[in-house]
Amino acid sequence: MTGKITGISGPTVITDIKGLKLYERVFVGNAMLTGEVVRIEKDRSVVQVYEDTQGLAIDEPVQSTGMPLTVRLGPGLLSGIFDGLQRPLQRLKEESGPFIRGVKELSALDISGKWIFHAVRKKGEQVSTGEIIGYVKEGPFEHYISCPADVKGKIAWIAESEIHLDRPIGVMEDGSEIPGFYDWPVRVPLPYKRKYSPTEPLVTGQRSIDFLFTIAKGGTAIMPGGFGTGKTILDQSIAKFADIDIVVYAGCGERGNEMAELIEEFEMLADPWTKRTLMERTILCVNTSNMPVAAREASIYTAVTMAEYYRDMGLHVLFLADSISRWAEALREISSSLEELPGEEGYPTYLASRLSGFLERAGVVETNSGKTGSLSMILSVSPPGGDFTEPVTQSCLRTSGAFLMLDTSLAHRRHFPAINWFQSYSLYGAELLEHHAEKFMPEWEHALSTCKEILQKEEELREVAEIVGVEGLQDADRLLMHTAEMIRMKFLCQNAYTDDAFSPPARTLSIIKEILDFYKTADEKLKQGVQLDEILNEKKNK
């Protein structure tokens, strides 16, 4: 169906096409800009356009597609760099140069690409929706091809060895086909059999997280912090070092230079766990702050759907978004151009439900093919003025499992990662303790509580020390202050620009153990009457 543009205001367009469905994708104007139907009235519909509307004129055509906004899922997404609508940015660059001028419809996948297919099911066998029929090797991974929805029956023909994505991989006896790729609506989570609660830790390589505020595979964490508190560096460090199969990184409304840095590093550096190039197990979905705002709103859905797709291969996938606040602002801009009644700080009242719906896409699941996969989420939040009482932080807090609060005053003191150890928390900690004790260190729980206690006491003593000076404290207190400083400087601090950027579990444990052992021995010596200065001198000379 086609119709005409009858009104334009910023990124929203009014059209007279009849019979549109809500959230249907449409092409707008002669330039065929992508848009989504966001409101339907009796004889007009409102379309949210995902590109710059400059130059768009009244009476230009609008075309319906009958389909919602979708992402293309199939082999070849890994190491891809896409924009918020899943256009492959590298191919776009080859075709139209270093600046994104007009827009082209480019398939996210190279559908003429060839792959070697390994069938696991044979001709004549019965298969149904969700069952795996075979796989192709995508880098180190077995990329499973399964039976799509609504297809079931006996296999009449199945490909062997070389396949092309644009031709069917299998044909059923009733003539229905199993394709190499398919398109899926971004706003609909990919289906799975059931969800489990997370039981395994996600090792991030960041000591303060892995030890103090452990995150779970399949869990969610948010890290709010004012500008310059280290959200991006932390996000990128975790993307580099986490023990995870696949990373999907959504650069949502942030800087282009950061993405350039990420791309360059990921092409060069190796995953410390597998020694393969990071890019091989990464998908980037980038909508920088100067790219169209409306596409930024869609970008996190585009990214998370790709993440779910790989989760369904039975893999552990980590989804990182920097920053979810920019997504929320895009939502606000769209809402205000639709003249919806604003809620708090101008955000639409459905902000919280959208956010929690999004965070719920994380989890450990049994996939339709019976495998276990997980999708973990870490989202950075950029509260205006560094004030955490604002709606986005608060809405995220309600559903996320871990809260890593990045502290401006720590950042100013160049204590990085600037995770505040008093305010932050992880709800997974308790459940994962068992796993930790078993796998890493029996006395984990004890070490953790001692460490927290020392930091807590330091805070109390600091106020006294401000007045009387450190020298004025008793030896036991001075020892505690000294130990706390060691914990802060040697354990919690981790400079992202040195070799210490990645701390494997063994290293993390050995550092904290060493510090706590020192504290224990020194404390005993103090009790035996040894002077603190003597103990400290001895340590220095060692």
Partner: protein, 453 residues
């Protein structure tokens, strides 16, 4: 293309800079419109919204004297574009790209839409090449690199002009190649060029900058919007400046340093216009889209993989009420790659440039310093200076409570170090320091206190 003249006399309402025109055939969003006033002036305007055959137009100039009967509008069928040519170099323009220096307009080689196009993130090269500003506290501790955007956060009454002038006078690029320390100066060749956008300047400020620009032997292009000139031009001038910068950088392969002062005037203009459009106000009345709007300017800094040329940006932001959490510095900080923060306290002590090292930061510094860029020990020296100065500053609070006599010898040394660091390293009355001189000054200071290890 339209085949007939699009002239209308069907204005139905005028409010501030906004006009409603009826019965318009196929207008385009963003289309440039010429408004003919009753006294035969021609004003630039742009199509903002279209509803059927009713069009909302925003005028980029003062709208006094307009009326409904005798005012007419002409639709031009094109979006706002900047004329570009090498001949712009050395010229001063106003916020509408009209010559302000008495010479005739140049002949453009090409035209380019002033909003620019977003750079494809996969085409960007990461900024790594050091720019020597000649200012120790920047070069040594908050290093600027090509393609970076690094704002100066100032407060009312602080000498941000003088800091900018020092950078304008002294900035040089040092070739990043190992061993070869090829220098381009602003005077040398035309590879390094300054694009200067002044927004809402007073006459007094303008004459100061005018002198600085006249003294520069180097290439520059200036856009000047005075405090009494149309507010709308404050929104245009930076876009013209950046279109020029992109053209010189990516078409002509030059390294361009863009200085915009003062972004606070820009944001206030944005708020004024947004209010006139009756948009929903956000924090402190600034529009909700201010982050994206600022990003559409700041993100135009950068470099392209495999290509010559760069756009580096040094915007000045005056923090209202000295408050760094005010939306203008806050949103700026969320977009730029660090900030240089000026301090009232240092200014009162007579230190120039009064840069407070603690909250200042150049986020791209790490890749632009060290061997092959500046000097091998750069990172080491800058880390130590920062660390001990921070310690000294901490101890000043203790000193205020217990007095200097109540402190240990060690702590007193740290206090002395902090004082001397301010007076000898930060303080730089006149003249530039090369990066080598900067690092040597820092090293000597550390050595004097036996802290260099």
């Amino acid at each position: 293309m339209r085949l007939f003249d699009h002239k209308y006399g069907t204005i139905t309402s005028i409010a501030g800079p906004l006009l409603f025109v009826h019965d318009v055939m196929s207008a385009r969003i963003g289309e440039v419109v010429k408004v003919q006033t009753p006294d035969n002036r021609q004003l630039d305007a742009e199509v903002l919204e279209i509803h059927g055959d009713t069009v909302l137009i925003e005028v980029f100039a003062e709208t006094h004297g307009l009326d409904i009967k005798r005012t007419s509008v002409v639709f031009t069928d094109s979006v706002k574009r900047a004329p570009l040519s090498r001949d712009m170099i050395g010229r001063v323009f106003n916020g509408s790209f009209q010559p302000k220096d008495g010479f005739p307009m140049f002949l453009p080689e090409k035209w380019s839409p002033i909003a620019g196009f977003p750079m494809n993130p996969s085409a960007r090269a990461r900024p790594v090449d050091f720019i020597e500003t000649g200012v120790s506290v920047i070069d040594g501790l908050n290093t600027l690199v090509k393609g970076q955007k690094l704002p100066v956060f100032s407060c009312a009454g602080l000498p941000s002009k003088e800091v900018v002038a020092a950078v304008l006078k002294n900035a040089r690029l040092i070739g990043g190649k190992e061993g070869a320390r090829e220098e381009y100066t602003t005077g040398h060749a035309s590879d390094f060029i300054v694009v200067f956008a002044a927004l809402g300047l007073t006459f007094y400020e303008y004459s100061f900058y005018k002198r600085v620009i006249d003294d520069m032997q180097s290439g520059f292009v200036a856009f000047v919007n005075m405090a009494d000139e149309p507010v709308m031009e404050r929104l245009l001038a930076p876009r013209f400046a950046l279109s020029v910068a992109e053209y010189l950088a990516f078409d002509k392969g030059m390294d361009v340093l863009v200085i915009i002062t003062d972004m606070t005037n820009y944001c206030d203009a944005l708020r004024e216009v947004s209010t006139a459009r009756e948009e929903l106000p956000g924090r402190r009345g600034y529009p909700g889209y201010m982050y994206s709007d600022l990003a559409s300017l700041y993100e135009r800094a950068g470099r392209i993989r495999g290509q010559q040329g760069s756009v580096t940006m040094l915007p000045v932001v005056t923090m209202p009420e000295d408050d760094i959490t005010h939306p203008i510095p806050d949103l700026t900080g969320y977009i730029t790659e660090g900030q240089i923060v000026l301090s009232r306290e240092l200014h009162q002590k007579g230190i120039f440039p009064p840069v407070d090292v603690l909250p200042s930061l150049s986020r791209l510094m790490q890749r632009g310093i060290g061997k092959g860029h500046t000097r091998e020990d750069h990172r080491h020296i800058s880390n130590l200076l920062y660390k001990y100065y921070a310690k000294g500053r901490d101890l000043r609070r203790l000193e205020a409570i217990v007095g200097r006599d109540g402190m240990t010898e060690n702590d007193k040394e740290m206090l002395n170090f902090a004082d001397l660091f301010e007076r000898e390293f930060i303080q730089q009355r006149a003249g530039r320091r090369s990066i080598i001189e900067t690092l040597d000054t820092g090293f000597e200071l550390l050595k004097q206190f036996k802290l260099e290890k």
